[in-house]
Symmetry: C2
């Protein structure tokens, strides 16, 4: 269905419909929008996407997306290089950066351990994390686990924790923390799920006025 009289148009619709969450009707809307733009604008559009794909780097240290070999966060002297926040994707880096509450560096795993999907510890950037912690004078003091609160995230947290504990030649024990879990700001108690509410009672913190 939604066949058009133009093979070129059909193919372009197929292209856009391959994007996540885009069906053929939305794809058609995008394509018709591009058709209404000038040739120069569309060529600039395509050029920008092409340049991104061919010229973008991933930071050699933290695997975040970057225009340079080492990303601006890892290269910055204003960031605390002794605190590493471990996240699943570069989107998580952006989310945490947007809070403005974190001044350390990151380590992007590129996934979480998920035996069901055939993703083991070797398929994500865990070895390079261990190497970062192990390596040289700049040993980090704290590793913050900021993976998703799913079974796969918990498994990965546990695996990383064990790997970090088993590093022998550290000068001092490394501190491993995880993000606080509890009731989201602005949420009603009655609409909070049982597990979250139960845990937030267990892990209650001292009231600060």
């Amino acid at each position: 269905m939604l066949e058009t009289s133009s093979i070129l148009l059909n193919k372009a619709i197929d292209c856009f419909a391959s994007l996540p969450g885009v069906g053929r009707k939305t794809a058609l809307r995008y394509v018709l929008h591009l058709l209404r733009q000038s040739d120069e604008d569309v060529d600039a559009w395509l050029g920008t996407v092409s340049r991104l794909k061919h010229e973008v780097h991933y930071c050699k240290r933290c695997h975040n997306i970057s225009d340079t070999e080492i990303c601006p966060i890892c290269a910055s002297h204003h960031r605390d290089q002794h605190t590493i926040c471990v996240v699943e994707t570069i989107r998580d880096v952006m989310a945490i950066e947007n809070t403005g509450q974190y001044n350390g560096v990151y380590h992007v795993l590129g996934g979480v351990i998920s035996p069901m999907d055939g993703i083991g510890p070797k398929d994500i950037e865990i070895d390079s994390l261990v190497a970062r912690v192990q390596g040289g004078a700049d040993t980090p003091q704290e590793v913050i686990l900021a993976l998703p609160t799913t079974m796969e995230g918990d498994t990965t947290n546990f695996y990383i924790y064990r790997r970090l504990q088993n590093i022998d030649n550290l000068n001092y024990p490394i501190k491993v923390t995880q993000l606080a879990r509890g009731i989201a700001v602005g949420n009603d108690l009655e609409y909070t799920d049982d597990i979250t509410l139960g845990r937030s009672v267990q892990n209650r913190i001292e009231f600060k006025a």
Copy 2:
């Protein structure tokens, strides 16, 4: 907000965010999807969109999108060339084609008369419609007005009707019709708006068993 550590990435996000209904978060999702594809796949993707933009034609007769100078519908001997359905956009052509209920040809106006938006009769393909009706031996017998049921659509309907009535040298009076308006199939009476329901009482049709 949602700034990333890569200028290339930011620019690509801006590109996708210029599509209709796409915000920066959705744009990021699209861009990250493309980044996960192979270089060849992305190049093929970009090539297809580029080819569409540079090689697509609009049918010289009906202004529908086409790979050739005359679109397959206008060129077909199986279609009734004496009935012209006037629509606003090529999306409307697809919608009517999908019903499988129409065997005539089309005329795509590319818009409707809208003084508020500065769109007058000269800005859309009305003159070429009149020329089609006027021209030669192949005079159409019926013009179906299938424009949106808005004030702008009604204005355009009325304008086209007057223009068609004022054509002098026609061999026979041209029949001008519009799409049936009434209660949509599957809709409850109580949720149908007053104007639609009122008109469908006025314009009731004989019951056919």
